[in-house]
Every structure is written in C-alpha cells, then in structure tokens.
Symmetry: C3
C-alpha cells in the first residue's frame, strides 16, 4: 500500500494550513453538506455553475469537482467549459458520474465529460463505474461483492484509456490507476443511509488532490478520511441524521491519533 496513516495526516495538515479553494459544480441535494464537509476538513468550498462565471472561478481554484447528480442542459455546458479551463490551467478535476447507468442522459453526459477532459479522479460506486466503462451486465443501484470484480475491470479499462485514477467506493474502496492500486477498508454500512456521502467523498477528493498531485494517494486519503470520520461518528450516532452531524464534527476534529488508530488500507 502506498498510503500510510502518516501520509494521510500530512495531507490533512496541508489542507488545514493552505485552505485550498475547491470549486464545485454539483447537485442541489448535496450542496450544503458537501460545502460543510470541505469547511470542516479545512478547505474553502465555492459553488458556481453559471456559464458566465465558471471559467473565472476555475482561475482562482485549486481543484474542480464536477458532479452530475441533478443535471440539466445549461449545467452540462458549464461543466464542459469549467473542465476545459481546468485542463488548460493544470488543476485537478474530479468527476462524480452520479446515476450513470440509470438514465441515458447521465450515462452519455458522463462519457462526454470523460472523453472531453479526462479527470484526475473519477469516483463512483460499482454500477456507475461499470456504466461509464460501457460494461455489459450493468445493474442499476446494485453494488454487490460479485460486481466488485467486474467494476475493478471496468476501472482498469478506464484508467488505461483515459489515464484517470478511478475510485470505486463501496464496503471496500478500490483506487485504480494504469500503474497502481490501493484499497481502503474504512467506513460503516449506516453511511449508505445518509444522502450524499458519496458526493462528499468526491468533494474531499478535490481537497486532497489540491495538495497531493499523486492522485492515487489523494483519492485513497480522501476515502480513508471519509471512512474514519464515519466510523468515529457511528459510535455515538442514533441514526443516519445524527451520523451526518457527528461525521462533520469528526472531520473537523480529526487528529493524527484518530487516523493512526482507525486507518485500514492495503
């Protein structure tokens, strides 16, 4: 495993010192909670989607997170413009293909964004990654152990073709590049009952990619921090809503000792 607890802590510390500006073009459902997660971690979030300003916003950002969770035409145009500018400026783009495979519009938008501006990190669940890779046997919303193997192959295909790091999140998170892999085993099942924690993971990938240009490490660090904060939150949570609150507070308070105690990866 490339990533160690010390390295995760170093990146967390760097984010807290530098407060990198993370520009999000994301879905309505999660805007508030992902902004709060970025703030709790120590980054500076900004949400901006207008075609009239996305390029200006990219110009002052350290990472761009594109999330297709609630799409419409103007937003897709803005996503392309922002991603193109990010490519020109050399800042990392994170792409979260929410719901790819559920509708043609999402699947095709994901393909077009991936092809036009291959992201530093593509993060989704197994079925989304399979849909993006146009793998047969894609099944909506199913993220079983069996499909993990298929999803890993799909991720390898994307990583080869686009040179993107692909992060498949699930009970175990697989991070795959064309030369490297990592697995993060933190997290808790109750996290799937909180809307938008996958989107939060993508947003945190943006913060880590802003301070760590080894994007396999950046994605693994983000997933580790997500899972660790989630496990810490679950200890006192009485359900998914208190879990969300405790998760954000855990992100804010996360210490070197917490990471050393909880991190499981290989």
């Amino acid at each position: 495993m490339k990533v160690t607890a010390q390295e995760i802590w170093r990146s967390v510390s760097t984010i807290r010192e530098q407060a990198p500006l993370v520009h999000n073009i994301t879905n309505y459902v999660v805007m508030n909670t992902t902004a709060n997660a970025l703030l709790a971690l120590g980054a500076s979030p900004v949400m901006a989607h207008a075609v009239d300003e996305v390029e200006d916003m990219v110009d002052i950002a350290s990472a761009l997170v594109i999330n297709i969770g609630t799409l419409s035409r103007d937003w897709v145009v803005a996503m392309h413009r922002a991603a193109k500018r990010a490519g020109e400026r050399g800042i990392p783009v994170i792409l979260d293909p929410v719901g790819a495979g559920a509708t043609r519009y999402r699947t095709e938008t994901s393909h077009e964004l991936l092809a036009a501006c291959p992201p530093a990190i593509l993060r989704g669940n197994a079925s989304e990654i399979m849909a993006v890779a146009r793998e047969e046997g894609t099944t909506k919303g199913v993220d079983s152990t069996n499909s993990s193997q298929t999803a890993v192959r799909a991720a390898e295909k994307i990583a080869r073709e686009y040179k993107s790091v692909v992060c498949i999140s699930g009970a175990e998170d697989y991070i795959i590049s064309d030369t490297d892999t990592a697995v993060v085993k933190n997290g808790h099942a109750m996290m799937t009952r909180v809307t938008g924690l996958g989107c939060t993971a993508s947003a945190l990938c943006g913060a880590f990619a802003a301070v760590n240009s080894d994007y396999v490490c950046a994605a693994a660090e983000a997933m580790a921090v997500m899972g660790i904060a989630g496990e810490m939150a679950v200890r006192e949570a009485t359900g998914p809503a208190s879990l969300q609150t405790l998760f954000l507070d855990a992100l804010y308070n996360l210490s070197e000792e917490d990471i050393a105690h909880y991190f499981i990866g290989e």
Copy 2:
C-alpha cells in the same frame, strides 16, 4: 378507520424490504432532507428534473413525487412529462401544490398538473387544498380550525372530480377519497417550525403508495409515520433543528412497538 397500527407496520416493513425507488421532482429547499427521510424510512430516493431524463427515470421508479415549491418554466415542462409517463406506466403520482394560492403561477400550475394527470394522492395544507379547488375564502398561510371544514369540502370536491385521494395536513390530517376518509391525529406543533416537513410528508406518501395501492391507506400510513416520528423526536428536542435530526433518526429506528404505542387515528 381503515388503517391500523399493524397495517402501518406491515407497510413500513415492506418499504424496508423492497427499498422502492421514489423519483422526486421537488424544490431546492427540501431536496436534502426529503432524500434523507426516504433513506431513513428504507426507500431509495432519486432527484431528477431534466426534460432529457425524467421519463427514463420514471421508467425505473415505483412512485413519482411532484412538488412545486420552487418552480420555474423548464421544471413545469419536466413535471408534465414525468406525470404523463407515470400515468402510462401506472405508477402512483403524489402532487404537493406548495404555495398554491400565494401566487397565480403556483395556483395555475397546480390546476394544470391536476387536470393533465390526476395524482394518486394530492397532499397540502388547508389553504393550498382550498386554492387548488378554487374555493372562495382562500387565505394565505392560514390553517385554522374554522378553515378545516372548508378545506374538507374542497378536498371532497377534488376527490369527486379527479378521483384523487386528497390529504390535508394540519394539527389533524384528513385523508379523503370519493368513497372513503381517514383522520390521523399524530404530530406536534414544533414540526411547523422545521422547513419542509410537509414536503417530507409528500415524499413519504410516495414510498407508501409504492407498496400499498390503497392510496387512502398509503397516505394515512405516511401521515401516521410522520406524526409518530415527530412526537418521538419532540421528547428530546431542544428546538426545531434538533427535532429535524431526531425525527430522521426516529424514522430509521421506528419499530412495531413505537407505532402501536403512538398511533392515533380514526
């Protein structure tokens, strides 16, 4: 009363087992909290509003919830398309005419949606239901005991004309079809200080309608579960924000015993 605690529990259990996909075209204010409420109950929420995908999303959904809380033109077009497709596929539509009566745009949009695709369940407060029924004496935001009688007559008129089940929420919730009625007496006044709990009620109507095709029962079950979780939350809440958190956790933990203990209906 048609609905019993055992039947409410049976529907809750079915939702938890089947995790029906509930497609929401809803307002920006409540997207996060209604998605979390559906997840906490055990359903699978999806939010999608683009004209380019709403029909595809309806095709994989078990219920469609249309909420006009933050309208604009493209969204209204998408609402009509989605409702039409839901009608063709025979999946239940829930319509929440948020703010009908407050502006002509909302009143007229409600009328047009009701007429084009009569919903399985129309859920609103007394003034909204009166506005949808074009009742004289509609007063903005007032939901007094006196107006309850007028609202019930308005609901009966809509139920006769459109064959929709009409749910008037308030201190007591009235569920009215052209042949049947139910009253649910759960809930707590502090719930009116949390934004979007009415919208959450409509979303939960979608989940119950997905597993119970007797829509009077489905609406009564949803309102009962709302009120019970609210009462459980109020016991420990120190204000409306902790009430929201405790409400969602109560939905997640809701047991057969809780329902038997709290349910009051007739």
Copy 3:
C-alpha cells in the same frame, strides 16, 4: 450605540408575534438552513425565483432578501424584477453580494442590482463590500484587521452614494449609514466553518427590517442575534455541524435574559 438589549428583544418579540413573510431569492447551498433560521426566529420564509411569480410574491411579503451566491441569467432577471417591485411597494430589500470580487459576473451583478434598486441593507464580508465599492486592493476572501479600515471606507462611500445601510460582517460587525454607525461584537470564530451563516445573517436582516424601519438598528439587531445564538451554541458544540443545530435551537429559544447577558455592541 443606538441599539440596546431591550430594543433587540422588542424586535425579536415583534417578529415572533407578526411572523413577517420574508421572500428570499437566494442560493441553493443555504436555502434550507436560512429557511430554518427564519422559522426558528419566528418569521415566515418563502423561497421563489421564477420570473413568472417573483412580483406576486413580493406583493405579499414584508421584506425581500436577494443573495447572489449561485447565480445564473434567469435568476438575475428575477432579482431585478423583484427588487423593482419591492421598491415600488416600499418594502425593504436586503442585498447579499456573495462572492463579489471573486468573478466579474458576481461583481457586475452586484453593481447592477445596487444601482437599479439601492437596498435598505447591503450585507457582506469586507472583501465583498470593497468589491462592490470598486475599491482598489480588493483581495479575494481575505478579511483581515488591516482591510477592515478599507472596508469601512468602502461602506461609507456606498452609504453616501446609494443611501443604503451597509453591514460588514466579520469578527466585529460594522453597520454604516450616511449618518450613523453601529458595531456589534458578538459571534465566534467557529461560525466561519459553517457554510451559509453569512447568508443567514442577511436573511435575518430581512426579518428585522420587516419590523423595524430604522435599518441601522435592524441590521445591528440581526447581527447581534446571530452572534449571540452562535456564542450560545458554541458552548455545547463539538464541531461546526453540531454548532449549526445548536445555533438554530438557540434562535428558537432566545430569551430577553440571553440577549441582556450576551450582547456586546457600541
């Protein structure tokens, strides 16, 4: 200092008695939390942005809050229409130029809104107020002690030119008209780690301006209540997410004694 604890309490009591309707055209990130803050305080929030209804909504509102946090073209058109109507009806407009200075689109939109319909209260952080005043030396997102002096001069310039009350929020909040000033010293640094508390302050300015036509006092009262509720929340918060919850509950429970105990202004 014009504002006293007793006067703050009087305005809070009036808001709770009258529940003024505050019409918000605001950003997606904060819609839920600002609606909840207005409800917790005792006001009635409504969010509406469609060009087809903003004027009708202004017609029944007691204040209009315009927040440019997530702009797009249709929304800017609606903001102008709503502000114009509010001007005609004589209800106070609050303008929050979120991110002015970060992109040209936001800076120019702020200028255009300010010039077309000078607001009762313009509220922003130091860098936003400097950008709106076209002051040299504007620096993105920096709100240092040094810049406070520059920001105050920028606010004085805006107050002279447009007859608007300008509120600069920060560790200390400066409220400046062409004839008057106030300073509020409540609040806590952890509040900057919660997304949208600045936007919440603008929304509360709307509620106070609806019941107090001395807009210097109204703005100072809003900032005092924000800071007091924040300080009360911080005592029990374990991080920014529990702070948000406790803040809203503190707003709901705020008593005359709390205000007398915590208020610091001059």
